[in-house]
Symmetry: C2
Subunit: 286 residues, 2 copies
């Protein structure tokens, strides 16, 4: 361990964010990617896949609140949830906090991510050790949605960037199958990249969604440890709107407390800056 | 010029953000701080004071939209604006776009910042070369608000962090004078730091404001090139609320186009995440 050791995420050739790494806790190479867990000085433990920051203990609640509670409080009574990816367990953890949810299926392709998180980041992964409502499948999410006969009220696509194992999760065939796996009132929310550094990916995702779903929007939040901070999720449904169909009183009734999500933010996060509207508003539907 | 040259902002001892610097355009040391302008590879030209990123050409519109148009569209007919700091000219530029504004006084302490921006970053500073409604004063903003007999409808405190020359801009004496300089319907908006890395400063600012002003709030936005992305402005007024007193139709009537600001964001940016409410909501007033 060197006191001058840093965990570094590089964005193309023009930017680097470096976090002081006090100790490398795990490093491995799976058949899909490089996986690392490091002890940072300020952000707690950090998971990196292929040198990209996936989460830190300090701020993971932001991402996990926003990817899960927006669809789960938009849907009037979600009972079944599918998480594609999300190997750290944070999205499953949040979904399982909703009392009405009866079953969460989580399909993560990379067992090494799950194992590394179980060993080193219990904050997100404890739920993966066993929960009566959780079915954890180590497998290919693309194949799963193509083959399953189950229907889900909410599908959460908690993926890495569209390089390596996550690439097919950004394409039209995948979302055709996602549509088929959704119940009549179903909602799918997906990791939607940076409005600054990933504009072509965002436009492509939104185009794919708008060709499949009757209702499509994008929402934004501030992710502390993703490059540039501002980050997005896509929201697509068979009709439900996170604005018109959101019943604020369900949040209070749930009795749940959050560190990021609030009923006010639920609506506010759909107000996008003009430069982002300029690139994605043409794909809005419903 | 080295191809491995980086402009680096360090946050305490635990994080660094590094931008590829293709050419250092200006570097100097004023009596207040180190001033640099560099040509980055992706973010355009970048101004740094004391190794902290102040702005880049690529994203300065975010900060300048949000510091100026929130108060200027909350106030029903702002005629006089005072900008404290803001040496790059961006805040004055945005204020001067409002047709009803008759006079903008800008008080910047560091002539070197103004001169470096005029020479290298015309995108923000062009207005400083001469505008019939602009009075540019090189001087101490703290002293100015203590001595002036003028009253302003909107005061914008566009300052650096509370180290070096900006330190007094975060204290109670300054805001007592700001209160005195505001017209009966006056609003003051101030650079409000990071909700992650500057919590004690945020709480202190909010406490100072709540001891002086009948109406106090905080709002957030995503600043691409500030550490962690999520950033805040404080909002204090003699009574006007950015939510209840905001007349959306004034935005359309203004005919102005923005790259970041929208009437929806005007309200949405006041919806704060729970962890931020936990630290600052107790200082909200009105």
């Amino acid at each position: 361990m060197s006191t001058e050791n840093w965990a570094t995420e590089r964005t193309e050739d023009f930017m680097e964010v470096r976090y002081r790494n006090d100790k490398t806790l795990f490093t491995g190479k799976s058949e899909f990617q490089k996986v690392e867990v490091v002890q940072t000085r300020w952000h707690g433990k950090m998971l990196l896949n292929d040198d990209l920051v996936m989460l830190t203990e300090k701020d993971e609640f932001v991402y996990h609140d926003m990817i899960s509670h927006i669809p789960l409080f938009t849907h009037p009574n979600p009972k079944t949830v599918l998480v594609i990816g999300g190997g750290d367990g944070g999205s499953a953890r949040e979904a399982l906090r909703h009392e009405g949810v009866e079953k969460v299926v989580m399909v993560e392709i990379d067992k090494m991510v799950v194992d590394a998180c179980i060993e080193h980041i219990p904050q997100t992964s404890e739920v993966l050790l066993g929960h009566p409502k959780l079915e954890l499948i180590i497998g290919d999410g693309v194949k799963y949605v193509n083959e399953t006969k189950l229907k889900f009220d909410v599908i959460i696509v908690d993926s890495t960037d569209p390089i390596g194992p996550a690439q097919p999760l950004f394409g039209p065939d995948f979302y055709k199958d996602v549509y088929s796996c959704l119940s009549d009132n179903g909602i799918v929310v997906s990791q939607g990249e940076s409005p600054w550094y990933n504009v072509p990916i965002q436009e492509s995702m939104m185009e794919v969604l708008s060709s499949q779903f009757p209702f499509v929007r994008m929402y934004q939040f501030g992710n502390l440890t993703y490059p540039g901070g501002a980050w997005c999720f896509t929201f697509a449904s068979k009709g439900l709107s996170p604005l018109k169909d959101f019943d604020k009183s369900r949040v209070a009734e749930s009795g749940l407390k959050f560190k990021y999500y609030t009923p006010e933010l639920h609506s506010a996060c759909f107000a996008l800056p003009q430069f982002l509207l300029d690139s994605v508003e043409k794909f809005f539907k419903g």
